[in-house]
Amino acid sequence: MLTFTIRRLILSVPTLLFISLVIFLLLELAPGDPMAQVPLTVPPEVKEKMREALGLGQPMHIRFWKWLVQFFWIEPQVMIDHFFGTTYAVGDLRVISWQTRSPVMDTVVQRIPQTLWVVGTAYVVGILIALPIGIYSAYRQYSVFDQCGTFVTMIGFSIPPFFTGPLLIVVFSVQLGWFPFIYDTTHSVDDWDSFLYQLRQMILPVMVLALQTTAQISRYMRASMLDNLNQDYVRTARAKGLSESVVVMVHVLRNSMIPVVTVIALGMPAIFGGAIITEQVFSVNGIGSQLITALFANDLPTVQTLTFIFAMLIVFFNLIADILYGLLDPRIRYD
């Protein structure tokens, strides 16, 4: 298991390098000029100096290398300095935002908890709802519950988050007044009441994000359970006299989880995409809304860093799924 985990970890390095190259080239080949906003009265020599100050003077491969060094070598050092009070990174150049003239990672560190908090809760809630629905509708195939479940998941598939968001706001915040429609990120939880408020303000964004996840995962759970329920080993288990709950919840469920784990992992890019929209709808100031602001402000270093952070999060969750996959299915470990 350990070698399997290590092998997966090593495999994710070229993936990350490829993604960083794609992002870098995308920004590099884009025709936008960061000097476009500078007044025409500024002489060309000064403009050239300004370009160099922004780090645009060197050839492409050197800048790519420098960016990699900044991101993978200097930023971790800054983090270590921050936690242990050491001085490894003092005087090193960090990735600087063109918007705020401060290191990009400082802003990102402030904003990433909101995103992860909302996205993470939504995913967990979605999975927790989806699994029982999928299991039960497969166990009672073509029952009323199954038919309703199919219809609801179809709707969940089809209604995009930028429609459910405003819809839920109109119904629950405006008409009923149950939940706030703006996510207050400065809110700090220190007693029971503030905890309840935090819960209430998280319900709407989490619901919007979880709807899609639930729909997708319960579909796959149902299909995968159906595949397994008719297998010979299930009949054997029943013939041995095992109780029905043990047969379904232990024997069938464990085998059915294998493809579902892959689907859960592959859903990560979609859920982060949904998070960008949800943050926009509910004014959560996470990294999704930061990406949008940076894009409109033509702040390329921030855009580059954030896109790459999204990629890293996706690769990280895929890695977890891979390891879970190995835990669930011993055949994969020895592949």
């Binding site: 993604i19 794609v22 089809s158 995009p160 405003p166 819809l167 929209i277 990406l291 949008i292 990629a311």
Partner: protein, 315 residues
């Protein structure tokens, strides 16, 4: 002993597609979905010729009209038969905008879906057929699957807007850009499915027979493999169409899509969110249009998957 020479079939032979259609007819959701998809496609194609109001025409005296049905709840509501779905804050007609917006959304959806299928099928067939290319192409597919799609889409659309704008005009440039980007970033599932099927087909006798009479690889793919993988391709076509419509609307919603005076369903929704307490219908109508279209496409895909699967068909 039974007479083996007299073997007249009980029923006349039927083509495969007739069987598929018979199975599809049993799936109510798929029929309704397909019907609605045809209806909405025809509506956005020919609707603007019947409802000839210009969606861009600004009429300040006729602004903020409510839809006709609003009279049912509120007798004093500002409505007019000339604008059955109301007008927006600039007095542009709701129905005309909905039709024009649907035209864009559907056009982007269909074009992006076709591009996705083209790339996905090509990669899948090549990876499945040529053993040497299988490894690299599938690694590439895996890499693409871990790309953060929506952030990349946002970045690409914002950065490449200008040059395409100057070459193909504001709408044409954006159309090419969005279609190309959706196509490039969503071909992976199709490629995987097609590759799997091609790998299985390659071991079948008819492929061996075709090879033994000296069929070239190109003809082999075109004549023998592609017709046999058409059913998974059709299923992923429906999924691709739904995904492309949603992606385009999401981009418009985030404000990086088509230019501001060019209606799409996503943009109409985004513009209306500001005043949705007073005019909820302006959010609902485009939202329902997107959702119903995607829902019908998904149901059609569900039915097609059942109908095209010979193990389920005939049950």
């Amino acid at each position: 002993m039974t007479d083996l020479s007299n073997q007249t079939p009980l029923a006349p032979p039927r083509s495969q597609w007739l069987n598929v259609w018979d199975q599809l007819k049993k799936h109510k959701g798929a029929l309704m979905g397909g019907g609605f998809l045809i209806f909405i496609t025809l509506a956005v194609l020919f609707g603007p010729y019947i409802w000839t109001l210009d969606p861009q025409k600004i009429d300040y005296r006729a602004r903020d009209f409510r839809p006709i049905y609003h009279v049912l709840f509120d007798a004093d509501a500002k409505t007019a038969w000339g604008n059955p779905l109301g007008t927006d804050q600039l007095g542009r007609d709701g129905l005309a905008n909905l039709l024009a917006g649907g035209r864009t959304s559907m056009a982007v959806g269909w074009a992006a879906m076709l591009l996705t299928l083209f790339i996905g099928t090509m990669v899948g067939v090549i990876a499945g057929f040529f053993k040497r290319l299988d490894g690299p192409l599938m690694r590439l597919t895996d890499l693409f699957l871990s790309l953060p799609i929506l952030p990349l889409l946002l970045v690409a659309v914002t950065l490449f807007r200008q040059p395409l704008h100057s070459n193909f005009g504001p709408e044409g440039g954006m159309f090419i850009l969005i279609v190309a980007i959706i196509g490039i970033t969503s071909w992976m599932p199709t490629a995987r499915i097609v590759r799997g099927d091609v790998l299985a087909l390659k071991e079948r006798e008819f492929v061996l027979a075709a090879r033994s009479i000296g069929t070239r690889p190109g003809a082999m793919i075109w004549r023998h493999l592609l017709p046999n993988v058409i059913s998974p391709i059709m299923v992923s076509a429906t999924l691709g169409l739904a995904a492309a419509i949603i992606t385009e609307s999401a981009l418009s919603f985030l404000g990086v899509g088509f230019p501001s005076d060019f209606p799409t369903w996503g943009k109409m929704l985004a513009d209306a969110v500001q005043r949705m307490e007073e005019f909820p219908e302006r959010v609902m109508l485009p939202g329902i249009a997107i959702s119903l279209t995607v829902l019908s496409v998904n149901y059609l895909g569900d039915g097609l998957r059942d109908a095209l699967d010979p193990r389920i068909r005939g049950r």
